[in-house]
């Protein structure tokens, strides 16, 4: 069994005055689905191309299976890449696309065809070998690209937002298919995306990136429930936040003085002390509307907008200095725009994080 872990050690890449990747360290284990999640321009694609060998890092090194990859060209690395636009060869038939790696290795044509059909079966694409890529649907092309990459028997498969061109339904189906292909092949998948839905749904580990640096690494649950920075809290999922000053710290429970009144929450990864500026984050689905007995935290606000979102209703409220959203199941309330309602949330659902760059900045 080859070692399939990837170590990124102090990787930096600058283009002139622009820093794409900034002293990044990460350890990617074996047999897993790893995602780099970040907004466009955060350096995630550069990072992927550094791992693939298309880009030389300005500083730092990449170790794959413990071996330093410096100076090793892409075709000699145990990686295979799936490009954002898939980069299928349009003038070759599907089976020739899949068999390209075998062709390079000098496998006979007859054998190539057998191997290609075998790979096509593995991605459940029987009987399309003789077609041309443009004759296939988006999802089928996707699978051809995966089969073509698997032909080199990579230890690490690098995927550069390959689902971004698909429509929503197909994307959802491909997400589960990618997941099962990863499980079945036991190849380490490194997936780049700006779509948090994809990252959260597929990954064992997610690394949230911004401005060339990793903001947080963790399981999808950790990333969503315990964001460590303001950026992660606002980039992954929707989040309400209140700016304030810490009034009182006791037993990890923190009281924050905000324009909406005193609100209580818990510290995330970093602890602060009284008088510090801090932000309180609470998810829209963790807030409830309507009068409650002894709420842990509550304030009153007018409804400024109501949006229909299929199963749920998104209610926007205007609070002094902030705009708050609350999500509740369709039909649970019958409010109208302009109604003044009470918003409340539990202290355990509120996270207190030091101020920082948000995803909206």
């Amino acid at each position: 069994m080859p070692a399939r872990n990837v170590e990124l050690v102090h990787i930096s890449k600058t283009y002139g005055s622009l820093t794409a990747v900034d002293d990044l360290n990460m350890s990617i284990g074996e047999k897993g689905f790893y995602s780099f999640l970040g907004p466009s321009g955060c350096g995630k694609t550069t990072l992927l191309r550094i791992i693939a060998g298309f880009v030389e890092p300005t500083a730092g090194k990449v170790l794959i299976g413990g071996k330093d990859m410096a100076g090793i060209p892409p075709n000699q690395r145990p990686t295979a890449m799936i490009f954002q636009n898939l980069a299928l060869f349009p003038l070759m038939r599907v089976w020739e696309n899949v068999a390209f790696a075998f062709e390079v290795r000098g496998v006979t044509k007859q054998r190539r065809r057998i191997l290609a059909d075998d790979l096509l079966n593995r991605v459940s694409l029987e009987g399309v070998g003789d077609k041309f890529p443009h004759e296939l649907s988006g999802g089928q092309r996707q699978r051809v690209a995966i089969a073509r990459a698997l032909a080199v028997e990579p230890d690490v498969l690098l995927l550069d937002e390959p689902l971004s061109a698909l429509d929503l339904k197909l994307r959802q189906r491909m997400i589960s298919e990618l997941r099962s292909i990863q499980k079945q092949t036991e190849v380490t998948f490194i997936y780049i995306t700006h779509d948090q839905g994809e990252a959260l749904a597929m990954s064992d580990q997610v690394a949230v990136m911004n401005a060339g640096q990793i903001q947080q690494i963790g399981s999808p649950q950790e990333i969503y429930n315990q964001p460590q920075t303001a950026f992660v809290a606002t980039f992954v999922g929707e989040n309400n936040y209140f700016r304030g000053t810490i009034k009182n710290v006791s037993d990890n429970q923190v009281v924050l003085a905000t324009p909406a009144g005193d609100l209580k929450g818990y510290f995330g990864s970093s602890e602060m002390s009284q008088g510090d500026e801090a932000w309180l984050f609470v998810r829209p689905e963790r807030c409830t509307l309507g009068t409650m007995e002894n709420p842990e935290n509550s304030f009153e606000a007018p409804i400024v907008q109501l949006d229909f979102d299929g199963p749920s209703q998104i209610c926007s409220l205007q609070v002094e200095g902030a705009s708050i959203q609350v999500i509740y199941p369709q039909g649970m309330h019958s409010y109208h725009v302009g109604d003044r309602v009470q918003v409340s949330f539990r202290t355990k659902d509120a996270l207190i994080i030091p101020p920082g760059k948000t995803a909206h900045d």
Binding site: F54, T79, M81, Q84, A87, E103, V104, A151
Partner: protein, 352 residues
């Protein structure tokens, strides 16, 4: 009708009329009509035997008329009253016959035959020049392909944008100078006492100047230079559209540079290369100035023979047949090229 209405709606009536009438004029007046006329010319010749017999008849009748005049004058020394009416009639008839023959001889009869073509087939010198022209044009095309592809690939895929722009200007500017001047520049470079010989002599590589212009070398060099850009443009255009990810994907799958070119880049550029090859071949086969300037007496080009039929020999029919043969071979070349490279010209129009 619908197309026309759309054209008018999008461009206005004046533009629409121009857009339709200019190509139509160009097609009919500049291409179809002259070509048809030339094809017609190539299939007939003036019947010289008939002409000679008419001319002989005219001179015979002239003599008879002189004779008759003499006899009439004898009968009537005074010449005041009418002479023998029979003789008079005979004279009038002869005069009419002569004038009719003369008008016929002014427009000699056109005899339709393959004589003009069989003349080319039968003339060993012309035949060999014809074949040599085709062969040399093929050679020019191949040399141009070998030069064009790396240049186009470099410009389209490797050169940084700024550098590519500078290189492009460098390639285009010489083409602002007309072909004859550019060819003369090559004459200065390649001639017996030219720059290249001077240079080679001064660095001691040669003791005797090389006769570049004696054989075909000068013509091949000059033509390749004159026409290679017509191949670079379409090839460059297509290679620009080659997604760099495809090259990287191939590289990632283990392909070396040769395979990347053979399997990815060249197939992608093929329609451009084919268009370029066709253009270059056509231009080379139809070139007049380059062989006239750079060619020696041993490297006559077929176009020079066509020229001499039209303007030195005054035999347009023979010239037309020769020109048509050249055109036919060029069209054959286009068809064969398209077949060999598998380029579908309908598909090509979609790409541009």
């Amino acid at each position: 009708m619908n197309h026309w209405r759309r054209l008018v709606m999008q461009n206005g009536i004046i533009m629409a009329l121009l857009m339709v009438s200019l190509p139509a004029f160009w097609l009919v007046v500049m291409i179809i009509a002259p070509q048809l006329m030339m094809i017609d010319y190539s299939f007939w010749h003036e019947d010289n035997l008939q002409l000679a017999s008419w001319e002989k008849a005219i001179s015979e009748k002239d003599e008879q008329m002189v004779d008759l005049e003499a006899r009439l004058a004898e009968q009537q020394p005074g010449g005041t009253s009418a002479g023998d009416p029979a003789l008079e009639d005979q004279y009038q008839q002869l005069a009419a016959e002569v004038s009719q023959l003369e008008s016929q001889a002014d427009q000699p009869p056109e005899v339709y035959s393959l004589k003009n073509y069989s003349y080319l087939a039968g003339n060993r010198l012309h035949r060999s020049i014809f074949l040599k022209t085709i062969w040399s044009s093929l050679l020019v095309t191949v040399i141009a392909l070998v030069i064009c592809y790396p240049v186009s690939f470099y410009l389209a895929q490797i050169a940084p944008r700024r550098q590519a722009a500078v290189l492009f200007i460098g390639l285009i500017i010489p083409y602002w100078i007309n072909e004859i001047l550019r060819t003369f520049a090559w004459l200065m470079l390649l001639s017996y006492n030219g720059f290249i010989n001077m240079f080679l002599d001064s660095v001691g590589l040669i003791t005797e100047p090389i006769e570049f212009l004696d054989g075909n070398a000068g013509v091949l060099i000059g033509m390749t230079y004159a026409y290679v850009l017509f191949m670079v443009f379409p090839t460059y255009n297509l290679l620009r559209t080659l997604d760099r990810n495809q090259i990287e994907a191939a590289r990632d799958l283990g392909a070396g540079w040769l395979r990347i070119h053979l399997r990815i880049a060249i197939p992608h550029a093929k329609p451009g290369l084919a268009v370029g090859a066709i253009t270059t071949f056509m231009l080379a086969a139809g070139s007049y100035a380059v062989p006239a300037i750079l060619g020696g007496p041993n490297s006559l080009w077929f176009t020079q023979i066509i020229y001499s039929w039209f303007f030195d020999g005054g035999n347009w029919n023979q010239g037309a047949a020769y020109a048509f043969m050249l055109l036919a071979i060029c069209l054959l070349f286009v068809t064969v090229m398209a077949r060999i490279t598998g380029v579908d010209f309908k598909d090509l129009t979609k790409r541009f």
